[in-house]
Symmetry: C2
Subunit: 134 residues, 2 copies
């Protein structure tokens, strides 16, 4: 079962808004990190690298929760609970597209140390439920 995003939530995800991604640690506790994001229909897409904690967590347990709290309207927010699929295909293109959206630069210009990073992973979140005020 999938859930639809509201028009307002879609419009916000199309702006350079930071979202918080929560994954499940091996011990069952939550792991949180902020990420850049883009949208494809009702899916939310972010980038990580092979072997990073959230990638390892999502490989083991594909359930993810994403929180969007606009910096300029912090009393409105949305929590998107979903399930991910992951692929390294298009990983470099995605991080460059996100870097351009959020910083106006290619990722290698924004973060020169990224040359040493593991291969990038495309993480696609398909919403199962949306709660909150957006």
């Amino acid at each position: 079962m999938t859930a639809a995003l509201s028009d307002k939530l879609k419009a916000l995800l199309d702006t350079p808004v930071f979202v918080i991604v929560a994954t499940v640690q091996p011990d069952g506790s939550p792991q949180l990190s902020p990420v850049w994001v883009k949208r494809d229909g009702d899916d939310v897409i972010f980038s990580t690298t092979l072997g990073r904690q959230k990638e390892k967590n999502l490989r083991r347990d594909p359930r993810v929760t994403v929180l969007l709290q606009p910096f300029d309207a912090p009393y409105t927010y949305a929590e998107i609970r979903g399930t991910v699929t992951m692929s390294t295909e298009g990983g470099q293109e995605l991080i460059d597209e996100l870097a351009l959206k959020y910083t106006g630069q290619k990722y290698a210009e924004f973060n020169p140390r990224s040359a040493e990073d593991n291969p990038r992973v495309v993480v696609r979140v398909t919403p199962r439920k949306v709660v909150g005020r957006l």
Copy 2:
């Protein structure tokens, strides 16, 4: 085992910064919500109400993760993993103190509908581990 907060993280928690709290749903997936916060030594304190989803989750599983991402410095953030203790004692005083810190008003003035809320709960997070860039 408890972890200490850095001086920078302590100073930030003393400002009206929003943090994101993650709890564990009955099915093991993460549940996220933004909260107001204060600090007591290395403990992070927030407010909820009896019966709210995060209160029910924390009663069942006291593990919590808190993410602080300053709106004006979004590339620096800290993730605080900890364990909570909860009490209704001082619950109304805490929400009024937090409302004053974040809005300059008493809570009943900021949120008139709160008169219908269940009793307030003080949630004290004792850090077990701090990761990130603060």
